[in-house]
Structure formats: C-alpha cells, structure tokens
C-alpha cells in the first residue's frame, strides 16, 4: 500500500518534459519533490505564478510571495508573476498541460467531488472547478478507501460535484486507474504488495481488468 509520498512519487512519473503543471493542495503538492532530474517543467500556482520554486530558507520568507495554498515559497529563475484573471486565462485556454488535484470521490464516468460535504464542511471550491472544467489532462491523487472502509471510487458521486466527466487518471494507495470513454475504472497498475482481489474489494464503481496487471515500479 502506498503512503502519501508513494502516491506523489508515482504521479511524478506522469510529468513529462516541457509541461506546465498545476498542483493542488495536499498530496499533489508533494509531486514537486519527485520530478526526475532532467525533466524541465514549470509549476503554475493559480494565485499568479509560473515557475514556482521550493520553500524559502528560514528567514527568507516574504509575505508577498505565496502559493495557492497560502504557503511561503520562492521563484525559480525565469519565473513570472501575474494577476488572478490572467492566471485563469491560461488555465481556461488550456495552456496548462497537466492538473493534479485531490478528491473526496470520483465516479466511473470521470466526475469528481472535492469541495463540499453538505452540513459539515464547506470550504469552497477555490480554483478547482475552473481547473477541472478546462484542463485536458487531469490526474487525481486520493485515498481509495476512507477511514470507515468505504470505497471512494464510485459508480456515481454522492457529494456535490466539482466537475463532470473530466478525470483521466487516478492514483490511490492501491493502484493506478484510467477512466475509459464508456465509463469504468480501468486498472493499469497495482501498488506494491496489493492484489487484484484487494482492489476489487475497494472499488465500488465499475472496475475493468484486462489481462495481467503489473505491480507499479516507484
């Protein structure tokens, strides 16, 4: 079973040279730590940065320089700063090649829910609705099974949606899945030490298994 860093490590393999990438809050943020040497990408932060760098050294924090998670960060050489409207312009116009975000639920047709639990938690959608509505390539990083043992890969989302038919790929603690055009979670890889049987038991929506499923290498 993968931990958060394991999920981030596996997703980092999806990041290709020359991509502009938006990383959501939580596990997606960790992906930045595992992008292989020699792969040149630019990280976009929707509050107005291209070319986001690591956290600043102690004492170098700048209140005017934060990422979309409100964390103090740095800029890499060649970075640029812009306003929020321009930022979502580049997202809407599909200049940002890859969006990686977290989810509470994903359905077999690629719907995603990640912004609201009615009556309990309402934090708001932030930029997630804009990102999922426009991005061509969306990868979700999530826990497949919640603390109560319930699957979060469903036939239909129960929580209020963030976007419809938009998720392309999902990486969880148990495996890697692709959403197929006619609906269904196609199992691509198993997490180390996880059996297909375990994955079947942890997937409430339609699971598609074709041939031998290899264990992922991370």
């Amino acid at each position: 079973m993968l931990d958060k860093n394991g999920i981030a490590k596996r997703i980092a393999q999806e990041v290709k040279d020359g991509m502009y990438v938006n990383l959501g809050i939580g596990i997606p943020t960790l992906v930045a730590n595992y992008i292989p040497e020699g792969i040149n990408v630019e990280l976009q932060s929707e509050n107005g940065i291209l070319g986001m760098g690591p956290f600043p050294f102690e004492g170098d924090e700048d209140a005017d320089l934060i990422n979309a998670g409100k964390q103090t960060i740095t800029l890499l050489k060649g970075a640029s700063i812009f306003d929020s409207a321009t930022s979502f312009g580049m997202i809407r116009a599909q200049r940002v090649n890859l969006t990686i975000l977290g989810a509470m639920e994903v359905s077999e047709n690629g719907d995603i829910a990640n912004w609201k639990i009615p009556g309990k938690m309402v934090k708001g959608m932030g930029g997630a609705m804009d990102l999922v509505a426009s991005a061509k390539n969306i990868i979700v990083a999530m826990q497949q099974v919640n603390k109560a043992g319930q699957s979060k890969l469903l036939s239909k989302c129960e929580l209020p949606l963030t976007g419809v038919k938009c998720v392309k790929k999902i990486v969880t603690e148990l495996g890697v899945y692709e959403i197929v055009p006619n609906g269904g979670f196609k199992l691509l890889e198993r997490a180390p030490g996880i059996s297909v049987e375990q994955i079947k038991n942890a997937t409430a929506g339609k699971l598609i298994i074709e041939g031998e499923i290899k264990e992922m290498s991370i």
Binding site: P56, A68, D83, A85, R92, M129, P160
Partner: protein, 236 residues
C-alpha cells in the same frame, strides 16, 4: 496630471455606507488592504456585501469585519481558514455565495472591461450552475456547455498596491498582484492604498500594472503587518 491623493483611509472611505457592495483585493492575507479594513471596522458600517477571494482568518483581514458582524453577504471562492466564518454561515447569520476562483477573477475583470457577461465552462453540471443560463458554444473546434456569468457590480473596489503615484498609477509586488489588479479596474469607485506613494514621473510608465484612470483615490497606508498565513521554510 490629475491628482488622486487623499490624506488617509478615513478620507478615502468617508462615503462608504451600510448596505453597500465592496470588492476587497488580496489572496488569503497576501496583498489585502489592511488600513482600509481597519477603517471599515472603525466606521462600523454594516450589512456589507463583500466580494473577495477569501474571508481572512479569525483575527485578521476580512475576519475582523466578520467578528463585528458588519458583513451581511460574502462572495468568495475559498473560505476554509476561518472558524467564525464557518459558524456564521452554518447558523445562517451570514449569506454566502461561493464562486469558482477563475469565475470570480473574471467577473471582476469583465466589470473593468465594460463587458456585462461572459461564458465559462467552470461549474457546468454542479451546484454553481443552478439558476444560470447554460449555452452550448463551439469554440476552437470544440462544442461544449458554458455557464453565462455576469460581471460584478460594486460600489467600491478597495485594493492594495506596493507603489502608487499621485496620478493613481499602481505597481504591485510579487503575488500580491492577485485579485488587486482585476478589482482595481472594476469598482464604481476604486480606492487604492499603497506602501509607497511617489510623485508623478517617478514610476516607469513601462512598469505600471494598473493605469491611474481606474483609480479614484490613492493614499499611503499607515503601516503594514503583512501577516503570513502558512509559514513554510526549509533548513539552510
């Protein structure tokens, strides 16, 4: 050059009245108009509708106006950092309209551009689409559904810039540009507070982010706390 300078926050905000709609710049606590918010608390105007990406934290930013219950309605994209906000929202004391962040920014920008509405795919098929016109549009060879979103109308836009000159030209610093730039263009009256107020001619025209035509009043903020919400660092 037309002089936009006012003495202080008190003079800049003197005609803000209860019941008005205010745009307030910033992202999280980054680039918020600290002096203007403090002045609104002091004035005690209430029943305000505030358009801002976030609602501050409990004891800073717009959180200060929530504590004093001066805000009737909040229009924002993300409000996760504020317990008092959550309490007022869940108890029904505070009206909340959650708007996707890109839609929020563009509704400001469109107001500044003088464009009444625009189509966006954000929120199609979600709660955000309820009560809104959905239109199928073919654009760049792809046909999909778009929500029709209106430009915001606000009585005042209150923004914070790094440097401003007496003609109201503004330059922002780092990611404090965020919503300040689109909002500065969007207010019926735009008030800018700046860290440094300089004479005309001192700012390079090539470096101006917001042309002074959009700014009605500019003043030098007394002091800036610039609180950091998430201090994240690495070891040397």
């Amino acid at each position: 050059m037309i002089n936009k300078v006012v003495k202080n926050a008190e003079e800049a905000l003197k005609d803000v009245k209860s019941g008005m709609t205010l745009m307030v710049g910033g992202f999280g606590l980054c680039g918020i108009p600290e002096n203007s918010i403090a002045q609104l608390v002091k004035m005690g105007v209430n029943n305000l509708t505030c358009i801002s990406n976030n609602a501050g934290v409990d004891d800073f930013g717009l959180g200060l106006l929530l504590q004093t219950k001066q805000i009737k309605k909040m229009i924002a994209s993300y409000v996760g950092e504020n317990d008092e906000f959550e309490r007022q929202m869940l108890s029904g004391e505070l009206e909340v309209e959650l708007v996707p962040q890109g839609t929020l920014a563009t509704r400001c920008m469109m107001a500044g551009y003088g464009i009444p509405f625009f189509p966006t795919p954000a929120g199609v098929g979600t709660e955000v689409a309820i009560g809104k016109e959905v239109r199928s549009i073919t654009f760049r060879g792809e046909t999909k559904d778009y929500l029709i979103e209106n430009a915001f109308e606000s009585d005042f836009a209150i923004v914070k810039a790094w440097k401003g000159d007496t003609a109201g030209n503004l330059i922002y610093r780092q990611t404090a540009r965020n919503f300040n730039l689109p909002m500065a263009m969007a207010g019926k009256i735009t008030i800018a507070e700046v860290e440094e107020l300089v004479e005309v001619g001192e700012l390079n025209p090539d470096h101006i982010h917001t042309p002074g035509i959009f700014v009605n009043r500019v003043f030098k903020g007394e002091k800036y706390e610039k609180r950091i919400e998430q201090r994240t660092v690495r070891k040397k």
